[in-house]
């Protein structure tokens, strides 16, 4: 377990030294969300209706921005090979990197979401559900994204390809994440959505680091 924390700490330190990259993704999130009212019109009823979906889609895209960086720098300077050779299992180190990615590009989205939700005229309790849904959903995005990031490591046109690979896999998270908020606004129970998000998170938590490790080993072989 120490390996996970050490790796997460190192990646967080690196991210803090290069703040601009993290902030860019956050501002991207804010800008994408702000574009929708401009494009669709400022009617509060309409905005309330589209808010959960818009915020979630923007969160998917913002998470995507940070993914190519997850392994790229370590791959270039050979750190990744050292990690593969290290006595602690690569899977744990990868889990640490995913944790760091979530803390850097997932958690800030969760914290920013209520502010943007107010712009969309969401009620306070709906904001609470939105934050909880993002809290459950964004780790899932980081986990699935890590597989894609490892597969496209050092590949031609990696960034666009990554979006093509990962976005279809994000569909369930989007459906249940946005669905929970929509259900709450419609006065329905949202516990089922949260259970499903949690179940997917548990499955991804187990399988994603493993699949990512396999993909990284393939990238290192060649």
């Amino acid at each position: 377990m120490n390996a996970v924390w050490a790796m997460a700490r190192r990646d967080l330190l690196l991210a803090l030294r290069r703040k601009s990259e993290v902030l860019t993704a956050l501002f991207f999130f804010v800008i994408v969300c702000s574009l929708f009212p401009l494009g669709i019109g400022p009617e509060p009823a309409l905005l309330r209706k589209i808010a959960p979906g818009v915020l979630w889609v923007a969160a998917l895209l913002a998470t995507l921005l940070g993914l190519p960086r997850m392994f790229a720098a370590d791959h270039q300077d050979g750190t990744l090979e050292q990690m593969a050779l290290s006595p602690s299992p690569l899977g744990l180190l990868v889990a640490g990197k995913i944790l760091a990615h979530w803390l850097v590009s997932g958690l800030p989205l969760v914290l920013l979401a209520p502010v943007l939700g107010i712009q969309f005229d969401l009620a306070p309790d709906a904001l609470g559900v939105l934050v909880l849904a993002l809290l459950l959903g964004t780790p899932l995005l980081s986990l699935i994204g890590a597989i894609g990031a490892a597969l496209t490591l050092g590949v031609r046109g990696g960034g666009v390809l990554l979006a093509l690979l990962v976005l279809p896999l994000y569909v369930p998270a989007l459906i249940f994440g946005a669905g929970a908020v929509e259900a709450h606004i419609a006065g329905l129970a949202f516990a089922g959505h949260f259970s499903l998000l949690g179940a997917m998170l548990a499955v991804a938590l187990f399988f994603a680091p493993w699949a990512t490790t396999a993909a990284l080993r393939i990238a290192l072989e060649s």
Binding site: L151, T152, V155, R156, L164, I175, L188, I218
Partner: protein, 255 residues
């Protein structure tokens, strides 16, 4: 007595399978099989089209336009089935490190993508006269669309990696992740749809389908099977030649 025989036959079988999986053996074997699959595809296709156009009765509710399902349903079946087969070969390639498995997965992907697109296309052709709209965010349509995206992602990933061995393995992991995700996506889309809107449009067919309609559909499905196998074998032959171009046997095979 059985116990002493079984290991022997199983090793013989596996040895034979691995023997066939070597590209120099498989290349001529596939070449001999391809005309047969084409012939069967034509045979089933002619029979299926005859049944679906002349034998199957006009539908009481949907009129003549329902006949598109004789292409639509087999295409949908194939699009899902080919993904499973592709993932199976990809997994075999990862586990046993056999070269041919990855080539097989790569050869199947375009056919699967074609089937997915064909299924979406014919589906909307059917939807326009029946529902009055080209596209509905129905669970099946949406999951078929995402399946098409998964195929395109697989093809794009393989195309952008130059080293064929790495392309095979990376594609294999993606295909396997996709297989885990397909049921999740299907059910999430289904629940999403039922949560969103009432069943304004239902894809479920009338429960009693005329016997001849079923026959037409089955014949067309067999035709699509044979076509897919024939095309995949042709493509895998081309891939074998491309990848093994440096070897001695390819020089002789091409002559």
């Amino acid at each position: 007595m059985n116990d002493s025989i079984r290991p022997l036959t199983s090793t013989r079988l596996t040895r034979w399978l691995f023997h066939c999986a070597s590209p120099p053996v498989f290349y001529p074997l596939a070449g001999r099989l391809i005309p047969w699959f084409w012939a069967l595809a034509a045979l089933f296709g002619i029979a299926g089209l005859y049944v679906s156009f002349f034998v199957a009765p006009t539908d009481a509710v949907q009129g003549e336009a329902y006949r598109i399902i004789f292409v639509h349903v087999p295409a949908s079946w194939m699009s899902m089935f080919i993904y499973l087969v592709m993932a199976f070969w990809a997994g075999v390639g990862l586990v046993f490190n056999t070269r041919l498995s990855g080539m097989m997965a790569q050869a199947l992907a375009p056919t699967g993508a074609l089937m997915a697109v064909l299924s979406l296309w014919t589906g909307s052709l059917w939807g326009k006269p029946m529902w009055g709209t080209w596209w509905v965010w129905d669970a099946r349509l949406t999951s078929e669309l995402i399946l098409a995206f998964l195929y395109i992602g697989f093809i794009a990933l393989q195309a952008s990696i130059d080293d064929p061995r790495r392309a095979d393995k990376a594609g294999a992991i993606l295909a396997l992740v996709g297989v885990v995700n397909i049921p999740i996506i299907y059910f999430s889309v289904k629940w999403w749809n039922t949560l969103h809107q009432g069943a304004s449009v239902s894809l479920t067919k009338s429960p009693s389908m005329a016997q001849t309609m079923l026959w037409g559909m089955l014949l067309m499905a067999l035709c699509f099977w044979m076509y897919s196998i024939a095309v995949a074998l042709m493509r895998v032959r081309a891939i074998i030649l491309e990848r093994e171009a440096a070897t001695e046997w390819v020089k002789h095979a091409v002559e």
